[in-house]
Symmetry: C2
Subunit: 139 residues, 2 copies
DNA sequence: CCGCATCCCCAAGGATACTG
DNA sequence: CAGTATCCTTGGGGATGCGG
């Protein structure tokens, strides 16, 4: 049942004309990991965990808008890919901490680089949008 | 017609409730740009354009699996955000070139950094997945 | 508190046909 | 070639309820 978040869409593996790892190909295995990382919630989750190790509900509060289900799914996919470490402590009430693995931290840094790059240029983006919308009136 | 027929369907709720720039917040305007960049087709499109300027159908062939509709939508979103430049030449048959803006190239570099980081560690990822799946049997 | 299972709906997105 | 308009399907993902 953990099967949905990572179906590799191996629909047409017929080709393979010698290029094993082409990110642009549907069959490329890294594409699924990339999707987990850059997906709607993956990036935000990783970003949150980069700052500090967090528990499930802390994470849920930090990542604004994520549902319990999606957070759970996201964490599983990231854990499976080796980006996140899940540490369940056998206490009562249950306590589970999530933290990034070294690989996860590396990915997080790249990701944060991207985020800051975009954030630092948001004024440009906003201006560009205004221009674009202007040019095509109220359509 | 149309007001919302092709509003690029983002959940661009850039509401601007006057709050600061917290990427983790739903209201953060950069989140929508990030989604365009890291979305299913955004990243691959940018990646393809980083290598060379391309025409519509060249792009379509390069980005394996993208439909005409989605490519069109993606390009519009990226153009609007100021990441992609659209150059239509008034010739017959029509010729339109897409290329990255300087900002687009900057973003592309960050993105490629991420991609290479992940690709370079795919063996780890695959191993981690195997371990994970092992641990929870054939479920 | 942690989180899986179920139901269900809506919008992302694929296929197709058509225009300039 | 370079798209737009339309229809239709699929699964992403929200809401809720239960079990450990």
């Amino acid at each position: 049942m953990a099967s949905d978040a990572h179906t590799y869409t191996d629909t047409d593996t017929d080709g393979f004309d010698g290029l094993a790892f082409d990110v642009f190909s549907r069959a490329c295995p890294s594409r699924s990991t990339l999707e987990h990382v850059t997906g709607r919630w993956g990036g935000l989750t990783i970003g949150a965990l980069y700052e500090e190790s967090l528990r499930f509900n802390e994470l849920r509060r930090r990542v604004d808008g994520v549902s319990e289900k999606m957070l759970s799914q996201t964490l599983h996919a990231l854990e499976r890919d080796g980006l996140v470490l899940r540490e369940a402590q056998p206490v009562n009430p249950p306590r589970v901490d999530y933290e990034l693995t070294p690989f996860g931290r590396e990915v997080a840094e790249k990701l944060l680089g991207l985020i800051h790059c975009v954030e630092g240029r948001m004024d440009e983006v906003l201006a560009s949008r205004a221009r674009y919308d202007e040019a095509r009136g109220g359509r």
